[in-house]
Amino acid sequence: MNKENMKADTTVLPSEDVTTIKQKKRKATFTWYLFLLPSFIGILLFMVYPIVESFRLSFYQSNGTIETFTGLSNFQLVLTSATFWNTVWNTFFIAFFQIALTIPLGFIFASMINSVRRGQNFFKVIYFLPNVTSIVAAAMIFQFVLHPEMGVVNYALDAVGLPTSTWFSDPSTSKWGVILLAVWHWIGFVIIICLANLQAISPEMYEAARIDGASKIQQWLFITIPNMSGTFAFLLITGWIGGLQRFNEVYVLGGPNGSPARSIQTMGAFIYERGFTGFEFGIASAATYIMFIIILIFTFINLKVSKMNL
């Protein structure tokens, strides 16, 4: 290419370049929108539409085909139903003790695993295994683990001279059976999340503390725990959301009406019972929205309490 040609090229190129960049940008943006389109359609069809339809249904008495507009009466029925408030109590009770037990226990186990020099991965796998187990399968196994006569837990309690329990056959102990299952299932996740945070804490802080004469316990109390606050807040919020949506395990253990005597029936099970065993889709939809509002308010409170910024 000679110099004259080059000169000619440079005089033409600037204006074309500007157009090309604009076009490229537009095209790139357009392409990304195209890629997003399938998932967006999926969200519209399978999330937005059911949410809107469920909201509409909550104002109707509906069995799926025959509908009658009833205004706010479904909401009134649910909010004045003693059975519904019993399910709210059950849901919060189980979720509270699951979280109150699992987060501290998981953190302690994570701290212990983080302290061992050998076999860390082995312990991580062992403790995480319950979390990858299907909760449905785990619930069925727990029925045998907590069997009043043949269960290993009662056998162990009896062996050390403690009183045994009928667990899922008694309304006063059935919730604790669910809590045990929930703790066992969730603790692996808590341990892994805590471990990730523990390993991210700078070793220099511990080194400085040691030079200042801090004991192991003091290091744990004043360095480790304050540095874990973000993780605790995350576990608290996700734990509450998951706990308030609980359905699978209580359905396996107690059916849709949370046997015995509705003692383990959660809000999710109440919705299932009314919607899918009795064709009361309007009541079920209203209960779903009330549950949504309860979770929304409670998550907002949790965010404020834990000072977590989203």
């Binding site: 799926g64 043949m150 056959s169 309304p171 509705r262 009314r274």
Partner: protein, 468 residues
């Protein structure tokens, strides 16, 4: 650049049209000929179904629930090879040249909502439908009495007594019970007992129609350390959770009581707090002393139908969980069956099973009716009994060789099928069932007395009715 852009748009348009075509296409090979099918259906009306009539292009979809398979498979209980539905399909299609029958098989889990979805969207022509009362009231089912009346070849006399009556239901605008379904799978509730345990304890076997007093006395005698084996035995077991409401209702029936009256929701009057219900629940509380711990959570009967069984009497049992499993465990001769508690008219116990119904919007009703007759013929009924571990609903069962092989358990089962409370409890799948179940559980776990429990169940059920 433009070329690339156009190519991209073309590819996207093609993909989009493929998605649309896939979504809108039918998996029915003859789906595109539905108009022809309707015309042929008219012809089918003019001619009888027999004699090689032309069913060209007509397709029906039959929904079935439970342990059905298209292909041959191995039975998980008996280990024997069972024939698939293909054989039934081939036979029906050969008897109806040109017709195609397709099956939609679903599990029992969540069958109600799946049936509702299928029925609403017109997915099938014939449905297996235990919850017939709910669907008939929605006006989605074809009334069958005109079909029965017009078909000279068909008679409802083929069915075991009470089976037709059990499935009668109310249509959307009707005040009288009508026929919307034909009995397809039979079912029954009865009391089972372990003859070996009775022998070991020296207790006389249960009579054919035991009373509550007889059950209580024999359960008490067999609770404790077995005099021969030294094992802990329990006199009795019943499921204290899921089906406990039906166990209690049967106890009331045995004393001359009933669940209530009416069939349409605006006519129903519950009698959950009747004296018979109170004494029935008190009897269950007493019987709990002779049962292993855990019956409220469906635990304690794990050894039943094993050689190590430790329970004498089982209340409210069904044939599906008893007959074939007993023979599979080589316990066919060890198990005995007695009837549930009956009233003075000889009636009592929950009516159960599955009818088959025709969708009102079926495009091939003639062919659907042909299938319904075929499904209640000896061919298919024998198939469901011998291959699908289900109970037939026809009287001719007593003449089959396969019946003779298991006669000691089948004979009382057929008897139980002919004497249940009919029509089926209209609230059996609705909120009152769960209300009553929860209150029975509350009484069994000591939360409330029997009187308080049934009164609460009555109050909540009536309130639920008023708010419907």
């Amino acid at each position: 650049m433009k070329k690339i852009k156009w190519s991209l748009l073309l590819v996207l348009a093609l993909l989009f049209s493929m998605v649309i075509m896939t979504a809108c296409s039918s998996d029915d090979e003859t789906g595109g000929e539905s108009d022809t099918g309707s015309e042929t259906s008219e012809e089918g009306n003019d001619t009888s179904s027999e004699g090689g009539e032309n069913w060209d292009g007509q397709t029906i979809n039959v929904q079935l629930i439970g342990d059905f398979n298209m292909e041959d498979s191995t039975d998980p209980i008996t280990g024997q090879t069972t024939k698939g539905l293909q054989e039934i399909k081939d036979q029906f299609e050969s008897e109806h040249p040109g017709a195609t029958v397709e099956f939609t098989i679903m599990p029992w889990e969540g069958y109600t909502e799946k049936t509702q979805a299928m029925l609403t969207s017109g997915e099938a022509d014939v449905y297996q439908m235990p919850g017939i009362a709910d669907f008939a009231a929605q006006g989605l089912l074809e009334p069958l009495q005109p079909w029965i009346d017009e078909d000279e070849e068909f008679s409802t006399d083929i069915f075991i007594d009470n089976q037709m009556e059990g499935w009668m239901a109310l249509g959307p605008d009707s005040d009288e019970l009508d026929v919307f379904g034909l009995p397809f799978l039979g079912d029954a509730r009865f009391i089972t007992y372990d003859k070996q345990l009775f022998d070991e304890w020296g207790v006389e076997y249960l009579s054919e129609y035991p009373t509550m007093e007889e059950i209580a006395e024999k359960a008490k005698q067999m609770t404790g350390t077995n005099p021969e084996t030294g094992e802990q035995n329990y006199g009795l077991w019943f499921r204290g959770d899921w089906s406990s409401a039906f166990t209690l209702i049967n106890l009331a029936e045995g004393q001359g009581g009933q669940w209530g009256t009416g069939f349409a929701w605006d006519e129903i009057e519950f009698e959950f707090d009747s004296p018979e219900m109170v004494s029935g629940l008190e009897w269950l509380l007493e019987m709990q002393e002779y049962a292993p711990e855990g019956l409220v959570s469906n635990q304690g009967a794990e050894k039943w139908l094993t050689h190590e069984n430790n329970i004498g009497i089982m209340l409210n049992q069904g044939p599906g969980d008893t007959i074939m499993p007993a023979y599979a465990q080589d316990l066919g001769d060890r198990i005995g069956i007695a009837q549930e508690f009956k009233n003075d008219d000889g009636v009592g116990g929950m009516f159960a099973g599955s009818p088959i119904t025709m969708a009102k919007d079926s495009e091939n009703k003639e062919l659907a009716w042909e299938w319904m007759k075929f499904a209640t013929s000896d061919t298919v009924q024998q198939y469901v009994f011998e291959e699908a571990n289900a109970m037939p609903s026809v009287q001719s069962v007593e003449t089959w060789d396969s019946y003779a092989e298991v006669e000691n358990l089948m004979e009382p089962t057929v008897e139980a099928m002919s004497t249940p409370w009919t029509p089926r409890y209209p609230w059996a799948s609705s909120q009152p069932r769960f209300i009553l179940t929860s209150e029975v559980e509350a009484a069994l776990t000591g939360e409330r007395s029997a009187q308080e429990a049934v009164e609460k169940a009555q109050k909540e059920s009536v309130e639920w009715l008023e708010n419907r």
